[in-house]
Subunit: 235 residues, 2 copies
Amino acid sequence: MTRSQPRPAERPGTAPGPPVPRAGTGARRGPSEQTRRRVFLAVGALVERLDHRSVTVDAVARASGVGRSTIYRHWPSRQVLVLEAYSWTTNRVTPLPDTGDVVEDLRVYLSELAFCTSFGGAAPTVAGLLVDALEDAEFAVAFRRVLVGERRRAFATILARGQQRGQVRPDLDRDAAVDALYGALHHRLLMSGQPVDGPFVAALVDVVTRGLVARPADDGSAAAARTRERPRSAD
Amino acid sequence: MTRSQPRPAERPGTAPGPPVPRAGTGARRGPSEQTRRRVFLAVGALVERLDHRSVTVDAVARASGVGRSTIYRHWPSRQVLVLEAYSWTTNRVTPLPDTGDVVEDLRVYLSELAFCTSFGGAAPTVAGLLVDALEDAEFAVAFRRVLVGERRRAFATILARGQQRGQVRPDLDRDAAVDALYGALHHRLLMSGQPVDGPFVAALVDVVTRGLVARPADDGSAAAARTRERPRSAD
């Protein structure tokens, strides 16, 4: 959770909020990059050690060396602080891949997300934030915009690039494809409790990229082939 | 939690629990069909009128005419009662389709589920039960077995029938396909807050059955027109 590399806004997963001068401008548009980094790293470390509900603003202030009032000025609540820190950290460890192949990009990105949710306090943090969102309509807006929205944009970017390269069919409903890919991961993590691991990622990418319908090339049976006669060939 | 074996298995979505003699056998293997029906209908009506957390055993006893002690004998907690009633009701309004065409079966079943989660107290009930499951590991087991498990089995049955008919590719990972289909629905309902409606179902079935990868026929200037050329209508 503490891997470091400076990331300018080269990809859609990047949290908003431009760097502002450290002090004295009065613009107050957001914390400085340095403050965000110190605060978010402190939250990440605390989440790793504690339940995310135990990550108080006081504890973050102590761990980061950033004052309580500064934290409250930029993050209206403990929940939003944990949310933004979680999303920031996730973005750092799931750089948007660009291998030139949409199937490979999806596999890499899903593997990173799966890895990201499979260690430390990640799964309970997502679950806890979701619980908060389900019980608080105002926080739900932030939850959907930051955590869900940034990840959805990353998937959509991969798919759009694939369409530009002619690898993804042009009539694809990208939203539905993102629902299927990202939804499957959260379904396992939160609803079914099944493992979110390599075999899962491989199987999911296979289903969503190739589809589940049999095509003539799938077996040699002429009768079977006739029943699923389609204008396009297999893969 | 107190039921033991499958009912006459007319379909996988059907909740287990055989009818037992109304009284005096001492077997205590489960409530009678009549008791289950009265209790579950009462829970359903209360959930429609109130938040699911307000559905107390006392209120259910009053509304159903079934005694508190009988209810507690068969359902260990208010949570399990709401869970089983919700799943029972969902099964009643989402009969497993068997049209002979796997794409149509998926479309019908997803449409029923989507409809089912789009009215009354359904979405908040699913959300509330999930919150309970995320905060209570013991309840999570029941939640996954009853609510998630029964719906997953229904999808898997549709896919298995499709494989028997040669409509679904034999090498499909059915679990991953169910994750994508069912996960997408829950993702919208709980995570993204997007509508769970007819256009969503049509787009989701299209992605998961056909896949997102462009095939040779998708290329070229007339790609978009040719892509839509299919033996079955897409909606």
